[in-house]
């Protein structure tokens, strides 16, 4: 790397000025600064550091963390193929190859003239209309060989993206089943007005009565979270809407943001009213960047209508506004404490907890982080009351749940069901046949085999953040698990030893098996790694990373057996018995040396 003196850059100075030279906006500054040259040359990082009075190493540290920030040149056309298992099932690999061949390009490399680079990225949330790609941050779905040919031609002609056919960029909502939320037709401000009329305490009472639980995965009681934030010492409390939606196979938050943005922002305002927050952030994943302009327009409209700003709806002392903060390609930033680090302009590394964000969150202030769907649901509670909300669903899982359905079925898309719906019913509704397995809750979730399809979607049975990926009889569940293992290895933040190294080791073992070099001893090591990841990881990413392997090893064992060199053809291959020799050698017979046959639930 050369040590060229940083040339004056009015454009960069402009970016810094736009963000008030505020170090907490470092990630936003890097994203904007990258627009100038398409990547972040070393002198740019030096100038940014100087402009923010930050150590340069700190800026380089942040720039190196996020997948969508580039400290080496990339093509002027950056093509990223979405690489979720559903994209793979729809043939994304062949399309990527075809595009590379047309452009005389190696995957992962930049063309010599700097025109184009083509590679893969984690799930882009378009599983219902894949295979999908991002070109310079803009999403294109429903890729076909024909479309790929056209795209190659457009790139060769260096046609600006704005002049590409508009239908490429059309993203469908694919809403297939509506219930209370998706069927709601609410005038902006109606829920907020109702909650203000109840007073802050009365509103929290309704929330408590609703028994609403978080829709982002963990299922924490929302009223309890809000109450803690409200009771926490410190003023200037913060509401964060988690729109990172990085869990592979999940895309319901995209649809909520696209079509129901008012409900989401109104929900954030309802949270602010309950806890007494003055500042709100929508943390929008980089993959959904194309939604930003329309979201800003909704915010502007709400400001003009007196639904954001000072003295909201005439209520003196109720001051609250919302800013959009972009992510830049890091699944771990969906974890709430990593999200807060990212909001502060840092690397997205999960914090040590306690303290929890409700007491010490954004810049040390009490912060309530909720999922997009959670926020939207609170509108229903404000409008119709907590008891009405609690009357649907099950006793422990009240209300409805949005499912993002993709994979092998006739009608992929968004389905809203009351909690308690059985898997069989869902499969029937979306036109799935010959279903071998369903991955519920994304890569971090649970893989269900056909004998479990009588189970129900509910926190107490099969919990889910919303992903529902269907695999029919032609699919290889080993390859499904392997795709998820690749995902976790790519997305590990690298902070803690077990996850940083363990996810890479697990990937190595799965690839070894895929290459036909697997032996029974490898299954022993895989089992051991699974357990260490689960036990010792710092955050939910590492502890969920082995889930796909644990589930498929237990339920689809032949998919693994087939790949072992030292094959054991006994139909009832007993993995635990196979480990007896290893136990003898290591003189172990503790529970940790045995393969448990248990079920895992998502984070």
């Amino acid at each position: 790397m050369t040590n060229a003196p940083s040339p004056a850059s009015p454009e960069l100075d402009d970016v810094l000025a736009r963000h008030d030279h505020d170090p907490t906006r470092l990630l936003q500054i890097l994203i904007d600064a990258q627009e100038i040259a398409g990547w972040l040359p070393a002198p740019t990082l030096t100038r940014i550091a100087a402009g923010l009075a930050l150590p340069r190493a700190r800026v380089e540290g942040v720039a190196g963390f996020y997948s969508f920030l580039y400290t080496r040149p990339v093509g002027r056309y950056r093509v990223l193929f979405s690489d979720n298992i559903t994209d793979r099932m729809l043939g994304n690999a062949g399309l990527l190859d075809a595009l590379c061949r047309k452009l005389w390009l190696e995957p992962g490399k930049t063309s010599e003239d700097g025109l184009v680079s083509v590679t893969t990225t984690s799930c882009t949330g378009l599983c219902d209309q894949g295979p999908a790609m991002l070109v310079n941050g803009r999403a294109i779905g429903q890729l076909t060989h024909r479309r790929i040919n056209e795209i190659a031609e457009l790139i060769r002609q260096q046609r600006p993206l704005d002049l590409w056919p508009a239908e490429y960029f059309r993203i469908d909502d694919n809403i297939r089943r509506t219930d209370a939320l998706l069927g709601l037709d609410m005038a902006p401000g109606a829920a907020l007005g109702a909650a203000i009329a109840r007073g802050r305490d009365g509103w929290l009472d309704e929330m408590r009565a609703s028994k609403l639980r978080g829709r982002g995965g963990a299922g924490f009681a929302t009223a309890v979270k809000w109450e803690s934030a409200r009771n926490a010492a410190g003023s200037a409390k913060v509401v964060v809407c988690n729109a990172d939606e990085g869990e592979p196979g999940t895309f319901k938050d995209r649809v909520l943001l696209n079509r129901y943005a008012d409900l989401v922002f109104e929900g954030m305002s309802l949270a602010a009213w309950a806890i007494g927050a003055s500042e709100g952030f929508l943390y929008l994943r980089g993959e959904y960047r194309y939604l930003r302009p329309q979201l800003e327009a909704v915010l502007a409209r709400r400001r003009a209508a007196g639904l954001l700003g000072t003295a909201i709806l005439g209520e003196t002392g109720f001051d609250f506004d919302i800013r959009i903060h972009l992510g830049a390609g890091a699944y771990v930033c969906g974890e709430e404490s990593a999200l807060i680090e990212s909001l502060e302009g840092k690397r997205g590394t999960p914090r040590i907890r306690p303290p929890f964000p409700v007491t010490k969150g954004y810049l040390g202030r009490p912060t309530a982080v909720n999922n997009v769907e959670t926020h939207a649901k609170t509108c229903l509670i404000a409008l119709h009351g907590g008891a009405a909300f609690a009357a649907t669903g099950t006793a422990q899982s009240t209300g409805t749940k949005l499912l993002s359905i993709s994979g092998d079925c006739a009608a992929p898309g968004i389905y809203e069901y009351p909690f308690g719906v059985p898997i069989t019913r869902i499969l029937e509704d979306c036109g799935a046949s010959d279903t071998q397995a369903v991955q519920v809750g994304g890569a971090a979730g649970v893989c269900l085999a056909s004998y479990e399809f009588q189970r129900h979607i509910a926190y107490e049975d099969v919990p889910t953040a919303g992903a529902f990926m269907i695999f029919d009889g032609t699919r290889d569940l080993f390859e499904v698990a392997r795709a998820f293992v690749h995902f976790f290895a790519h997305e590990s933040c690298g902070f803690c030893t077990p996850c940083r190294v363990g996810t890479s080791l697990l990937k190595g073992f799965m690839d070894k098996l895929a290459d036909g070099h697997g032996a029974k001893a490898d299954l022993n090591d895989i089992d051991w790694l699974d357990r260490l990841l689960k036990n010792a990881s710092h955050c939910g990413l590492g502890s969920a990373a082995p889930n796909p392997v644990i589930d498929t090893l237990q339920k689809f064992r032949p998919a693994y057996e087939r790949r072992l060199v030292s094959l054991d053809f006994k139909p009832a291959f007993d993995l635990d018995a196979a480990l007896a020799e290893a136990r003898q050698l290591t003189r172990r017979d503790d529970p940790g040396a045995h393969l448990k046959t248990h079920e895992e639930s998502p984070e």
Partner: protein, 234 residues
């Protein structure tokens, strides 16, 4: 009555606010650590201090002690996990102990002995991590970095310089220095910084003093890391 918890069945007294690790060591019980340092807030990254408290795995360095809780630490299960974590740290870097100037003073190596790590168990990653010999007084051999961030924290919080930072993500994570050239010589780093003395492994090495103490007579050659640590504990 003072508060206490049970560590492997033995009572350990503690004061409010103390972590499991601090209280245990003060009472003469060894719980291993790599990224923890008495003068800094807990980091929680290496996970060597993993213990089981109330049936859950937690980092002893970052978890407040709780009255009446039962903690498992020196058990075959926990020590097995620690051995596995050490094996992970060894295979992800390039550790050729016989030729390392830190040998005998290295906490990673000493823990390898302490937990009877006899094989690497996993395939080596053999990462490509060039050495930085640009600085007149100090050599950086990144091959051995375990990402404890002690140098990062010491330089930032004590030396007031922020010479070091981590960049990259996941298994690509690596240390960088505070210069556009990427060279230590182009930073304001000094051999007298705390950051120059705090690395638990053989990354930050002083030039021209190599092997002043012969191998065989070094800190962990003469006593195990558990014995040395307890000797130094308050």
């Amino acid at each position: 009555m003072s508060k206490q918890f049970l560590l492997d069945g033995q009572p350990v007294p503690f004061e409010e606010g103390q972590t499991i690790l601090e209280a245990a060591r003060a009472a003469g019980h060894y719980i291993p650590s790599l990224c923890w340092h008495k003068d800094f807030p807990p980091h929680g990254s290496c996970k060597l201090c993993v213990v089981k408290a109330a049936g859950r795995h937690v980092s002893a360095c970052a978890t407040p002690a709780r009255d009446g809780s039962e903690v498992e630490s020196n058990t075959p299960e926990m020590n097995g996990e620690r051995r596995g974590l050490l094996q992970m740290l060894f295979v992800e870097g390039n550790h050729f102990c016989p030729s390392c100037e830190k040998s005998g003073n290295c906490e990673l190596q000493a823990l390898g002995y302490e937990y009877e790590m006899l094989t690497p168990r996993f395939r080596h990653f053999f990462p490509d991590r060039p050495v930085d010999a640009s600085h007149p007084d100090v050599l950086l051999d990144f091959n051995r970095c375990i990402f404890c961030e002690l140098c990062v924290r010491a330089s930032r919080d004590v030396d007031g310089k922020s010479v070091f930072a981590l960049t990259g993500r996941g298994i690509q994570k690596h240390l960088v220095v505070n210069a556009e050239s990427g060279r230590l010589a182009d930073t304001d780093f000094s051999k007298d910084d705390l950051a120059a003395r705090i690395c638990p492994v053989g990354v930050i090495l002083h030039k021209r003093v190599g092997f002043a103490v012969p191998i065989g007579e070094r800190k962990f050659d003469v006593a195990t890391i558990s014995a040395q640590t307890l000797k130094e504990s308050p």
